[in-house]
Amino acid sequence: MLDNTHLSRTRLSAGQLAANFSDLHPALSTDEARTEASRCLYCYDAPCTRACPTHIDVPRFIRQILHSDLPGAADTIFEENIFGGSCARACPTEVLCEGACVDQTLLRAPVQIGRLQRSATDASPPRNEAGPDTGKRIAVIGSGPAGLSCAYSLRRLGHAVVVFEANSVPGGLNTFGISAYKISTAFSLSEVASIKSIGVEIRTGETVDAGRLRDLHKSFDAVFLGVGLGATSSLEVPGADAKGIVEALEFIAESHSGPLSDCRVGRHVLVIGGGNTAIDVATQAVRLGAESVTIAYRRSALEMSAFAYEYALARDDGVRFEWMTRPVEFLGESGVISATKMVKLNMVGTGRSAVLEDIPGTTFEIQSDMVIQALGQNPTTGLLNEFDPQILEDGRVRVDPETRATPVPGLFAGGDCLSRGAEIVDAVQDGKLAAAGIDRFLCGKPCIRP
C-alpha cells in the first residue's frame, strides 16, 4: 500500500496544478487542424496506417478533417480503435504513425497525426450500435483497454458481454496507470461510458480468482482475459521497508483518485528505473511541486526503454539523470527514507544484454524524502497458473497470433498479460483480434447472423 503519509501534500496552488496537469498536447483549433491536415500527402498503402497497431486509416481521416467532415474522421478512427481518444493523447506516435510518416523524410517533420486524431475524436463521439443479438454471452475479465476493446467489438457483432473488473472504478491502466497530464481520469471514464452505451455490462468490484474463472468459462460461451500484469517489482535491498518508498503505479493512481491538491510528493524525489513509467512519475513529481527530481538508471541513456520523446520531456521538466548506478541500501531516519546509497556500475558487453558489475569503492548517496520505484510489473502468474499452467509460457499467456485464442478452447487473451507491458494501442488491437477470434469460434466462418 502507498505509505507516504509522512509527506506533505503538494504545496502548489490549485491554479498552478491545473496548469501543470493540463493537456501536454492541447487540442488543435479548427484552423490549425485544417492547416496541419493540408500537409498530409494522402499516401497509398500509407506507412502511418501500417505502423499503427490498430491500422487506423490515417490518410482517410486526415482528408476528412481537411474537408471539414469531423464526424466522418471520428468514424474512421473509432472503426479501428475505440480508444482513439486515449491513443491520440498517450500513443508514442514518434515510433508509430508519425515515425513512419514520409514527411519525416521530406520535411524532417511528420504530420502531427496524434494531434489531428485528437481533433477528430474530441469533435465527435463514437456512434456505433450493437449488432443484432446472437444469443451468445462472453465474459471479459478486466476493464482495461484490451478488455473493453474486445467487449466493444463483440457487442457490435451482437454478442452479450459482461466485463468483470476487480477495481471499484473501470478503465484499468487507462484510468489509473497513465499520468493525469496525459490522460485525465474524466476522459478515461468518458471512453468507458461510450463503450457501456452500446450495451456492454461492466461489473466493478468483482475479483476473478481461478475458481471464478472456471465457473465463468463454463457458464459463458467464451471468456476473454484482459487481466494485465500483477504487482510492480520491488528492489530487495536493505532498508526497503522505510516509509516514503513507493511504487510508480501507486503514485500515478493517486493523481487519479482525488483532487490533485491531495497528492503527496517529496521535496526531493529519487526515481529508480529507465522506462516510460519512470519518466511519467518523474515529470508528475515535478508537476506536483517537487524541488528536485532525479532518475537513477542502471544502464546508460542509450539503453533506456523510455522513448526519446519521453526522455526529452523529463529533461525539459528539469529532471536530473544518474546513469549506470543502482541502489544498494535505503537509508532512513526513524523509519522514514532520507537517502539512498548508490553504487556505480560497469557494463560488460553492449546493449541491454550487457552484464552489469558494481565498481568497488564508488558508492555515493542521493538525498531524498521520497523514492519511487518504476521497475515494471510482474506477470499475473498466480491466477493463470492455478487455472491452467499450460496457457503460460515465459510469464506470458500463449495465444494464436491471429485469433488470440489460448490453448484452452473458448478462452482468449490480450493486452499486457500477453505483451508483458505494451502501449494502449497494442492492447486495443489484441482486444479487436480476440473479438474476431471469439466470433469465429462461436459462429463458425462466416458467422451466420439470426
Binding site: 493540408s38 498503402d45 515515425g99 513512419a100 519525416q104 533506456m304 526519446a308
Partner: protein
C-alpha cells in the same frame, strides 16, 4: 502633358500590321513593332544587370509589371503607393461618364486544400467615383510619375459621341495610353457594355474604330475570354485599328454555394450574379489565349498578358508566349503592392542566368512551339524513371498510374530488414526506447515502386503527382519509328508508304 512621341510612333505602326498579316508566322514578334527590342550583344557576354524596361504598343514603363485595371488602381492614393513600391505601370480602374453604384458583398475566393485564393471572383463594377475626380487624380499621378506608364481603362455606352468624348477628356490628363474594357462579364454587360461588346466581333471593331478616330495615345483593346474562339475578336480589334491587345479579362463564374444557407458565394442579400473569375487558377486559360493572339497572322499586334500572374515565373511564361508585358490584379489584392519587388528580383536573376539583356531577348521565344496536335511527332518516346535514392515511398505515383493511367508501376513490399541493408541515406530513421522506426516503413516492410518501362506510355502523370523534386524524371527513349507527325502519317498511309500503327498491347 501628352506624350506626342509615343502617340506618333503608335500611329506610324498602324499601316504595318495590315501588310504583316500574310507574311508573319515567326514566333518572335518583337521586331515587328520594335518594342522590347532584342539586344545585339555577343551570345556569351555576361549580363550584369538586365534591362527590364518595357514598351508595349509604344507605352513605355521601367519594367513589364503593370497593375491591371481593378480595385488596386481605383485612386491616386493607390497608384502612388504602387509606383513607390516599384510597379512599372498602372491601368486605372475603368472609368465612365457616370459613377456606378456597387453592391455588398463583392468577392468570393476559391481555396485549395489549405491554400487561400487559388481562384478569385468579383461582382464589383467599374469606378464608383465621378469622372472629374478620376481625371484629376490621373493627371496628378501622371505628373508625379512621368517615367511610369499610366494607362486608363475606359467603358461607356456604345455610342460614337460618348466614346469620342471620354477619349478626349481622358487623354487631356496626359495619360500614356487607353485600354478599352470590352471584357467585364458582369453588370456592365447587361447594360450593353463590357463583354457585351467584346463578345461580338463587329461591335469590337466598330467601337475600336470610333476610339481610333480621335485617340492620340496608343489604344489597347482588352478582350473577354467568354467567347468560343478568342482570335475572332482579336482580329476585329486589329481591324478596328487597335495598337495592342490586353487579355484576358475575367471569366464568367460562380465561386460556390454556401452549404448551410444555400446562398451563392459571394452573396448580396441571398442572391448572386455571374462574377468574373481570376487568380492563379486562370493562368493556363490566359496563356492559351495570349499565345493564340500573339501567333495569329491576322492580328499581329503587341500583347499585354493578364491572368493569374502571382510570381515572376508566371510573367516570364506570358512573355515567352508572346506578351510584351503583364498585368496583375488578384495577387496584389491578396498580398499588396509589395510583391512587385519579388517579381523584379526574380525576373532579373532569371534573365542574368539565361544571359538575356532585355525583355525582347526572350519575348515570344516559345510562341511558335505551340501549334496543331497534328504536327506533333508520333515517334517521340519518353518513359518515367524513379530515382530510388530520392523516393519517400508515399505510393502516390503507383495509385495514380494504377487507377488514373496505364498500370505501369509495380509495387513490391520489401522486408524492412532487407531494405535497411541497402538503405538510401535520405530516409529518416529514429531510434527511441529500444525501437527503430523508419519513415516510409510500416508493418515490417517498405513498398518499393518501379516503372514498367515496357508499358509506360510516357504520360507524365507519376512525375506530376510525386511530391519530391527530381525523383521521377521522364527520360527519352528511341522512338519505335522515324520521326513522323500525324499529318505526315495520314499522307504516308494514303500513299501506302507506311503500315497502320497498331494499338498498344498493354492498355
Amino acid at each position: 502633358m501628352i506624350d506626342f512621341f509615343a502617340a506618333s510612333r503608335a500611329s506610324d505602326r498602324e499601316p504595318n500590321h495590315v501588310s504583316d498579316r500574310e507574311s508573319s508566322q515567326k514566333p518572335n514578334r518583337a521586331s515587328d513593332h520594335e518594342p522590347n527590342r532584342a539586344s545585339k550583344r555577343e551570345p556569351n557576354r555576361p549580363v550584369i544587370k538586365p534591362d527590364l524596361s518595357s514598351n508595349v504598343a509604344g507605352i513605355k514603363s521601367p519594367n513589364p509589371f503593370w497593375l491591371a485595371s481593378g480595385p488596386p488602381t481605383n485612386s491616386a492614393y493607390q497608384a502612388r503607393r504602387a509606383f513607390e513600391a516599384g510597379w512599372g505601370g498602372v491601368v486605372w480602374k475603368t472609368i465612365g461618364h457616370e459613377p456606378i453604384v456597387n453592391v455588398s458583398s463583392r468577392y468570393g475566393g476559391i481555396d485549395y486544400d489549405g491554400r487561400k485564393l487559388m481562384g478569385f471572383n468579383n461582382i464589383e463594377l467599374i469606378t464608383d467615383r465621378t469622372l472629374e475626380t478620376n481625371l484629376a487624380e490621373i493627371a496628378e499621378v501622371k505628373r508625379a510619375f512621368p517615367d511610369h506608364a499610366v494607362v486608363v481603362s475606359l467603358m461607356v455606352e456604345t455610342n460614337r459621341e460618348a466614346w469620342h468624348d471620354i477619349v478626349k477628356q481622358t487623354e487631356d490628363t496626359g495619360c500614356d495610353g487607353l485600354e478599352l474594357n470590352f471584357g467585364c462579364p458582369h453588370g456592365m454587360s447587361e447594360r450593353g457594355m463590357g463583354s457585351a461588346v467584346g463578345q461580338v466581333p463587329e461591335y469590337t471593331e466598330m467601337v475600336t474604330a470610333w476610339v481610333k478616330e480621335v485617340a492620340r495615345t496608343p489604344v489597347l483593346v482588352k478582350l473577354t475570354p467568354n467567347i468560343a474562339d478568342i482570335r475572332f475578336v482579336g482580329r476585329a480589334a486589329a481591324n478596328g485599328g487597335a495598337d495592342g491587345i490586353s487579355l484576358i479579362n475575367t471569366i464568367n463564374s460562380i465561386t460556390g454555394v454556401n452549404l448551410d444557407t444555400f446562398h451563392p458565394v459571394p452573396e448580396v442579400a441571398g442572391r448572386g450574379a455571374h462574377g468574373g473569375y481570376c487568380g492563379p487558377a486562370v493562368k493556363p486559360i490566359a496563356l492559351n489565349m495570349v499565345q493564340q493572339i500573339a501567333i495569329d497572322p491576322e492580328i499581329n499586334l503587341p500583347v499585354s498578358g493578364i491572368g493569374g500572374v502571382q510570381a515572376w515565373q508566371d510573367a516570364v511564361e506570358f512573355i515567352l508566349l508572346g506578351a510584351g508585358n503583364v498585368q496583375i490584379c488578384t495577387a496584389v489584392m491578396h498580398y499588396g503592392f509589395r510583391i512587385v519587388d519579388q517579381f523584379i528580383s526574380g525576373l532579373e536573376n532569371w534573365m542574368s542566368d539565361k544571359k538575356f539583356a532585355v525583355i525582347g531577348d526572350f519575348q515570344g521565344k516559345s510562341t511558335g512551339l505551340i501549334g496543331d496536335w497534328a504536327d506533333l511527332d508520333l515517334s517521340y518516346k519518353v518513359v518515367a524513371e524513379i530515382a530510388q535514392d530520392k523516393c519517400i515511398h508515399c505510393g502516390l505515383c503507383y495509385i495514380a498510374c494504377e487507377d488514373g493511367a496505364h498500370q505501369s508501376i509495380d509495387i513490391t513490399p520489401v522486408d524492412e530488414a532487407e531494405f535497411r541493408a541497402v538503405l538510401h541515406g535520405h530516409i529518416s530513421s529514429l531510434e527511441s526506447g529500444g525501437k527503430t522506426i523508419l519513415a516510409g516503413a510500416g508493418d515490417g516492410f517498405v513498398n518499393r515502386f518501379e516503372i514498367n518501362q515496357e508499358t509506360c506510355v510516357g504520360c507524365n502523370l507519376c512525375s506530376l503527382v510525386c511530391p519530391v523534386d527530381h525523383c521521377i524524371s521522364m527520360i527519352e527513349k528511341p522512338g519505335p519509328f522515324e520521326p513522323m507527325t500525324w499529318r505526315e502519317y495520314q499522307e504516308k498511309l494514303a500513299l501506302g508508304e507506311v503500315d497502320r500503327i497498331l494499338p498498344p498491347d498493354h492498355v
